[in-house]
Amino acid sequence: MKREVQWPENYQSAAMVSIMLDCEFIWLDMDPLYDTPKHRSMGEYGPKRGVDNILTALDDYHIKATFFVPGIAAEKYPDTVLKIAESGHEIALHGYAHENFAHLSPDEQREAIQKGINAIEKLTGKKPVGFRLPEGDCTPETFDIIKEFDFLYDSSLFDNDIPYFIENGKHKMTEIPMRWEMVDFTYLAWGGIFPAGACRVAVYDDVLDNWLRELNAFYDMGLCYVITWTPQTIGSPGRMFMVEKVLEQMTRKNIWVSTGEEIARYMLNQGKENKV
């Protein structure tokens, strides 16, 4: 099969480890009724316990990840976010209060993004260049709004398995598509309002098998695999083996494991070279 993207240094395929530091804010946004101690504590587990486990695993495998952080999380957990940034991982934006953009007016969306950028830039000194929609949908205006802030890339959509460009006018943004199949929350999170039908927590070995099958297939086909973990969900002692197995497979194969920013910059430069 012909490779559509020539990855750097003759790598066969690419992968991005994305971590969403949703904390308690994903639960608070689902339903204000869940602004309660137990639901908050489910999310608080992430910065309190999960992050350290994940940082250790990333270090063990020498992998740099991209952490999508809601601005409010940078304000509430500055030490955690600084620790992540100082370990060399990318800090990207994940809304301000993990708000569902489908429910916001265009101006409210602008405000959420601006507040989010401000919170992260104030803490880390660097403006985030990547964006991912908080879990939820968006409105027809959203992608024009994201581009107003000159993001280098977005990673929210599902319509490809390699990065592509979203262009309007002179601004060219890279889209690094993601998939629900490679998100931990969809399989393993459980709470008062999620999942809607209160179905069972999935079997770990099965979920890991799904992730590895996709990883192998993305590798065989030369595509860009994006795995998404949330420290509150995957960062517990009994689940960390899943992270380790995936990272182990990634490093064992000839895969370019990189951050969203590096992938987006590579795509942009490659695009330029191709045009010349």
């Binding site: 099969m1 569902n100 489908a102 929609l133 879990e135 939820g136 949908d137 968006c138 409105t139 027809p140 959203t142 992608f143 929210s156 959509l157 599902f158 319509d159 490809n160 398995d161 598509p177 998939r179 629900w180 199949e181 969809t186 399989y187 999620f194 999942p195 809607a196 039908g197 209160a198 179905c199 069972r200 927590v201 999935a202 079997v203 099965d206 979920v207 098998d209 799904n210 099958r213 996709e214 990883l215 192998n216 297939a217 993305f218 065989d220 086909m221 595509l223």
Partner: protein, 279 residues
């Protein structure tokens, strides 16, 4: 009840039909009042990436397929329709907008008009009309199949769930030449794998199933159809089965079936015509 196995062509033990439901954006770009642009890209993946991947896979494995394409998708992606048709695969009817209450929220004349609109799109792109009818998600009124046959001239439908072999429709005056090729949910990738976070999809937001578990189900199903001589009718969706890992899962499944030398892989049209001539 003991029943005689069907005598499939060339001594085949069973028949296998892949119906591919090319929903594209159609299932996800409604209602218009509350657009969900992010969710729409979930469906678009099927068009952008999967159809080519499935065509390549099924050509490599020499597996005929029937592609059921909503009218709006054919209209938006005519080159895709031409490509599927030119490779010898069948194009069938699957609503215009993948209507989900096609037979309950409009009059008979109105839904007949939906069928005609889709047919005229096919005619304008590939110069022929669909002969196979796969009802979209909704159920249908009691006299609908008779209208598909009598007024709309379809050769066959694959919309029912109540058998594992084809049969002739009987509208109360004896068996007709209208053939049903029933399909079963356990051979549909959608109930196992479809997922959206918000709005939740399916509505109970059940977990995405285990790939290895589903593959095991499907192998058991094939063994059953093979042993009993049935017609194994799949319902696959490019946006679901065309992603990298699941396309490899499908390849594994096809290899499992191709291990048997005596399986008849055919399009819906071929099966319906054969049934009409023989049963």
């Amino acid at each position: 009840m003991k029943k005689e196995n069907i005598k499939w062509p060339n001594g085949a033990k069973c028949a296998v039909l892949f119906t591919i439901h090319v929903d594209g954006e159609s299932l996800y770009n409604r209602p218009e009042e509350t657009p969900t642009p992010r969710r729409v890209t979930y469906g678009r993946y099927g068009i952008v990436r999967s159809v080519d991947r499935l065509l390549e896979l099924t050509q490599k494995k020499n597996v005929p397929c029937s592609y059921f394409i909503p009218g709006q998708i054919a209209q938006r992606y005519p080159e895709m329709v031409k490509k599927i048709d030119s490779l010898g695969y069948e194009i069938g009817f699957h609503g215009f907008d993948h209507e989900d209450a096609m037979y309950t929220d409009r009059s008979t004349e109105e839904w007949i008009n939906v069928v005609e609109r889709a047919q005229s799109v096919f005619e304008s792109i590939i110069g022929k009309r669909a002969v196979g009818y796969v009802a979209t998600s909704s159920d249908f009124q009691m006299d609908a199949p008779e209208i598909w046959y009598e007024r709309l001239g379809f050769l066959y439908s694959s919309s029912m769930r109540g058998d594992d072999r084809p049969y002739r429709w009987d509208f109360g005056k004896g068996e007709t030449d209208f053939i049903e090729i029933p399909a079963r949910w356990e051979l549909d990738d959608y109930p196992y794998f479809c997922y959206n976070y918000n709005p939740p999809q399916r509505r109970g937001q059940a977990r995405i199933a285990s790939y290895q578990g589903v593959l095991s189900n499907w192998k058991h199903e094939f063994d059953g159809y093979y042993n009993q001589g049935g017609c194994m009718c799949w319902m696959l969706h490019p946006q679901i089965s065309g992603i990298p890992g699941r396309s490899q899962l499908l390849e594994e499944m096809i290899d499992y079936m191709k291990n048997r030398p005596d399986v008849w892989f055919a399009t819906g049209k071929e099966i319906a015509e054969w049934w009409k001539a023989n049963y």
